[in-house]
Point group: C2
Chain length 221, copies 2
């Protein structure tokens, strides 16, 4: 399956505010989705909007999400209701001379669409592999694989990357020219989600070393 | 103004999935809201859910959000429509022996309510101070203060912390007892949003030092 290199600009996906920051390039959208660990999933139930954070995985032009078959949220989503999925990477704080021009550097993706149920043990197991490898590359090889009853107890949904946009801010503050001579520091304070040292489970045998893929863990390229 | 120490449990704020992780304690909710930098704001327009990331500030039992008066999203929200606001702190990845028990450690808050317009130059300017101090404590003292025309060009909304819940996962993996003897590493990989070295604006005079509050920047207690 081949996908077009840009997503179509639709009424709901068009970036209205600061449109020069809006982008529809699939490679950029995928890069953001591959670096983020959490999406915020928006849906409507009883005329009320809900926004729930979830882990996910990406493969090609779809995202996978999963949870217990008892999850009311997943039961709602698998009915094919309209969903908005947003991923946000916070890259830094933009420190301006004037408070008015304080800002944040970020990369975000907003997607629109409807989820579909992933069915069959092979397809579900494959999606669980994608989900695990998204969170921790190397985890599938490392871990005890899912048993059929674990796969059965899991609902897996696929969400299409077909309609949406990325929005990106990078770089320095945009102070008014008249403020440039003020004796006030200005610039960027970079922020990054950073791993600490792995903490072994207290019940772990002492002779099991921390695997390389956890010692070298990082997000992004 | 005093607020009750716990938020009421309502039909929409009750944590249904893994209810033991759900909490309604205002101190915990405030702690999470004070550490996070971004909320994901969910609302309905044309029967479609939207989820948009935004900066914010907290004061007492309200959040402030702001943006250009030209923002269509803020124009929607100030009509008093139902909104869901979610803040998520990702604290780590839970590495289990079995793939089925991989998880994330996190602290999240989901709030329900309706925004109201903050009006009057003094009230708006105060909210802008709260917003700036939330993002960078010390910024209000440091920066050139907002001019009346900048305040006029800004829409500020207040959102109540009245109905909602926190959800928290901490600690080790919960592997099946039968898997504990497997020769597979298990534990936690902590994650934290970490500041890098401040990057001066290229137009900054060389004799302006990086302020202490940026060198010592951190989130959380």
């Amino acid at each position: 399956m081949t996908s077009s290199e840009t997503l179509p600009v639709t009424d709901r996906s068009k970036v209205k505010r600061l449109p020069k920051r809006g982008q529809y390039d699939r490679a950029l959208i995928n890069q953001i989705l591959d670096e983020a660990l959490v999406i915020h999933v928006g849906f409507i139930a009883n005329n009320q909007p809900f926004v729930i954070p979830m882990g996910y995985g990406r493969e090609g032009d779809r995202l996978y999400i999963h949870g217990s078959t008892a999850s009311r949220m997943l039961q709602n989503l698998q009915q094919g209701i309209d969903v908005c999925v947003t991923a946000t990477l916070l890259d830094g704080i933009v420190v301006a001379r004037s408070l008015f021009h304080y800002s944040m550097n970020y990369r975000s993706v907003v997607l629109f669409g409807r989820a579909t149920l992933v069915e069959g043990e092979a397809a579900k197991t494959h999606a669980l592999k994608v989900l695990a490898e998204h969170m921790v590359p190397g985890s599938w090889e490392q871990a005890r694989k899912p048993k059929p009853q674990e796969v059965n107890a899991t609902t897996v949904l696929a969400f299409p990357i077909e309609e949406g946009s990325a929005k990106v801010r990078t770089g320095d503050p945009k102070d008014d020219a008249a403020d440039h001579s003020l004796p006030i520091w200005a610039g960027q304070l970079p922020l990054k989600l950073t791993p600490g040292s792995p903490i072994p489970d207290p019940q772990l045998a002492a002779d099991i070393p921390i695997p390389e893929h956890l010692l070298n863990y990082h997000r992004g390229a």
